[in-house]
Amino acid sequence: MAEDVAIIGIGMHPFGRHDNTGMEQGAYAAREALKDAGCDWSDVNYAFGGSSAAGNADTMVSALGLTGLPFINVANGCATGGSALISAYNAINAGAADVCMAIGFDKHPKGAFDPDPADFGLGKWYGDTGLMLTTQFFGMKIQRYMDQYGISASTLAKVAVKNFHNGSLNENAWRRKPMTEDEVLNALMLSNPLTQYMFCSPGEGGVALILARGDIAKKFQKKPVYLRSAVLRSRPFGSFEVFNSWLSPDRGNSPSVGAAAAAFKMAGMGPSEMDIAQVQDTESGAEIMHMAECGFCEDGEQEDLIQSGATNLDGRLPINTDGGCLANGEPVGASGLRQVYESALQLREDAGAHQVPKPIKTAFTHVYGAPGISACTVLSR
């Protein structure tokens, strides 16, 4: 069953800062994906999509064509794109559609996000007193992790250096200038131990994927990529998330642990069988912790893995091969789909300058966001 959904078309509007609207970036990505799939908009019989700050995705039908297709808007924070993909995957598996589009796009103002405490079930005091910042959470989660598992500041910096290097090779990335470890470490300290260049920034961009029933995929695309699983989880009791005014001393797992385990189980494959991985790198520490949460290593092993280059493009397990969120920025609605776009590009050996040198057959993606949601996929050729 799980091999019956294929990605037949991928399209992306470059990430970064642009003059056009988020919606236009989404429509651009949709046209690119249709072109890549060799199909017409009228062939698509279901669509799911969303943005967090750039409007209702279904408005896009006036740009793509008023074919009357069912188009469902998805709003699920940082997992908006992942949720659109899971919805499309389920629609095909359920027999409700044979060609589906999943789309995400966004356009955020500059600077850190400034959410309203009430949207997260918190009192106004929480924002008043200066606690309503995602950056603080990321600083505190990795601070404790470094203390517990012996991760060094140099390793934090090396993650950023790697992702900016990968971004420099990716024409769709936003940040294309490589940086040295010293430049990253000596940059402005935003939220100790994380410096300015260890954080991604809210940005702009759009990604669209055309999915189809596996048995008809090759009618459209000679190199289809198969979606072996697509899973979303919200947080279990005891997880540590953004905007928690308290935590239980009875500690539990992150939602990423459950999402990744379920994605591997559904795909019938394990982490050791993945050739590449895209994991949420909202900041460098997140990539390090997510490596363990997703099952790619034990807690603490990241120090040696990253210092030895195992996660570089030419390493044993290349991670964030397109530069991740650090080099691409984070247009919330599009971010999770960017990871799947990149995986498909790599599996098709179409990534050009940032193609991993080893032959690959499998890929994993992981997105994570507020208020404790994670979406994972396993893909293969």
Binding site: P115, P117, L133, M140, R144, S191, L194, F237, W246, D250
Partner: protein, 143 residues
């Protein structure tokens, strides 16, 4: 004479010589939330009881807010020029609950996971009448 006004009611006991944070404890699960809540996140029970939390605890993790937060939601009146970084941390209060709080120090060299911390009440902004608005914070325990 200015008065000190708490940023929110029922966050901490005030005025008080030895203020305490106020939480909700759920007897069935043993879960304590801060601030107060109406249902247990573990069991969904709705029989929580108002409880005063320990005044001292241990630093569980920390960071330093290095840039001026956006207003809103931040109610501090600093400008980018007058802003001074502030510490933020999680403090474990016995085995009961780990609370998030501002810290009285923003010096990385003064903060270490596991160190003893105690609750204090600090002014962090003023209202239109010039009254201090106060909130809770944790300070390193002086040896």
């Amino acid at each position: 004479m200015t008065t000190q006004i708490p940023v929110a009611e029922e966050l901490f006991t005030w005025p008080s010589d030895s203020p305490q944070l106020i939480g909700t404890r759920y007897p069935d699960s043993g879960v304590t939330t801060f601030p107060q809540s109406t249902s247990c996140p573990k069991t969904a029970a709705q029989n929580g009881e108002r409880v005063l939390l320990p005044r001292v605890g241990k630093l569980w993790s920390w960071t330093i807010q290095g840039f001026l937060p956006k207003s809103p939601p931040y109610a501090g009146k600093e400008t980018p020029k007058t802003f001074k970084p502030y510490g933020v941390g999680y403090i474990q209060l016995a085995d009961e609950v780990i609370v998030e709080s501002r810290l009285t120090t923003a010096e990385a060299s003064e903060l270490k996971i596991g160190m003893d911390m105690e609750l204090v009440i600090i002014p962090f902004t003023t209202d239109d009448d010039g009254n201090d608005i106060v909130t809770f914070a944790f300070a390193p325990v002086k040896k």
